[in-house]
């Protein structure tokens, strides 16, 4: 059924538009003056001024891998984050931990762990899905690089950014 949209009937002074145009001009002029005199201030001057102090507790910045109290890499290469990642930014190649390694009982770790930060959308699903509490979204938001390759964070870079995180559930070592 066709829906008839009733147009408002304009009076003659409305039809010549000039009063409303004048009104509009006054509004914009008011904004102009208020901003010019500094009474309105919205913009933050990045990078001199930053949000860092005001970032919310659960701000979602760059994802990174963490190690635990005993410097064990928490990631066991279960690839759930790779699976859940909506833009498919994560690539993991798993490997078996050699038997002579201190953490051989964990059996598995990532040989390569790459996050393509050009693809990453900072959704935080990787952190949410991780069964080992190994990946966390940090508060870093200024991720830049001079090449595409540089924007792919490899394992070393991810651990460098993530650092050590204490106080998490320890499933694999005797700290419990």
């Amino acid at each position: 059924m066709a829906l008839v949209v009733r147009r408002p009937q304009l009076k003659w002074w409305e039809k010549i538009y000039l009063p409303v145009i004048a009104k509009g001009l006054v509004i914009t002029m008011r904004h102009f003056i208020r901003t010019l005199t500094g009474r309105t201030k919205v913009t933050m001057q990045y990078p001199e001024e930053k949000w860092n102090d005001q970032l919310p507790e659960h701000y979602r910045g760059a994802p990174a891998l963490v190690t635990d109290e005993q410097d064990r890499e928490r990631c066991v290469a279960c690839q759930l984050c790779e699976f859940i990642c909506p833009p498919r930014a994560i690539t993991i190649i798993p490997e078996e931990i050699p038997s002579e390694d201190k953490w051989a009982k964990v059996e598995k770790r990532p040989l390569a762990f790459n996050i393509d930060m050009i693809r990453c959308i900072y959704c935080g699903l990787c952190e949410e899905v991780c069964p080992e509490q190994a990946i966390f979204l940090r508060k870093d938001y200024a991720i830049t690089g001079e090449s595409r390759a540089e924007m792919v964070h490899d394992k070393a870079r991810l651990y460098e950014v993530g650092g050590r995180r204490v106080g998490l559930v320890n499933k694999w070592n005797d700290l419990k």
Binding site: L25, I27, T28, H31, F32, T35, V42, T43
Partner: protein, 358 residues
Amino acid sequence: MDFIALAISAVKIVGLVFLVIMPMVAYAVWAERRVSALIQDRVGPNRVGFQGLLQPVADGLKFILKEDFTPKNVRTGYYWLAPALTMVPALLTCAVLPFGSQLFGEPMVIANLNAGPLFIFAIASLSVYGIVLAGWASNSKYPFLGGVRSTSQMISYEISLGLSIIPVLMILGDLNLGRMVQDQSVNGWLMLPLWGDRFSLKGLLLLVPVVISFVVFTVSMFAETNRLPFDLPECETELVAGYHTEYSSMKFALFFLGEYAAMIIGSGLAVTLFFGGWSLPFGWLSWDGKADIPWWQGLIHMATFFGKVVVFILFFIWVRWSLPRFRFDQLMRLGWVFFFEIAVINIILTAGIMMLVK
């Protein structure tokens, strides 16, 4: 014409175009960005130089250094010609604009023609070719639509533009822009008839058609220069970037320059016709064009002219960020159904006043 006159002409051309118009274009862009930002509670470009004053230089550098990319399927010759066709007419029109009174005995106008407004309209109407050619030569849907719109829009509004200044010519009884300004300098501006001959019943009565004339002229000028609220040839929401979608680098910059140059010239013409050009109000330091005036007075006149132009440009910008874009049918309706009629009636009104009131 002897060599010296030629040299003086060249100096005037170079001086006006490259030392005045071009920097003005550049800073009009800067002003546009800053003013629009302030209107929208933002900051605008403020990084390059003090308050971002070097931003236009940076922009220019960027345009020069960018890859001059020509798409594969364009009609190359026309494609290259179009930006020049937009830029050149805009600059040509400034030949007849009196941007000052007199400096060291030399009239401050490049070509003191006796048919100033006609020259301007003749040349300005060429700029439509730039846009149409750009739209057509790009061989792409959006530019084509932009070009088509532009053609109808500019042709339509040229009529009301031309008709709207006829009352002015009738009142001033002259076609030489220099003398028109001198007249206003002595006898009162058309929009401010508060001294000299115009401070009379007839002058004040004539203010009615002059104001109508000014409104029609200004609105038509917006349409002619493709400025918001009439920027339909390039409206982003519908046509990506309209006729210059396929242009990049310096060719795009030429379109940009053309638009702003047209805006400056339009402002200059409005100032010349309605606000007494280089003259100061209330007959201060007025000049009737007969005796030579000292150089400092000439400088003051020049500054006055450009000051008025700057105010006009700011008005252009202000309007742009206040009003929404018209729909195309509304635009055509406004041009043909209202402004055309109003302009014609206005001519009759002016003639009536001039005939009846002595």
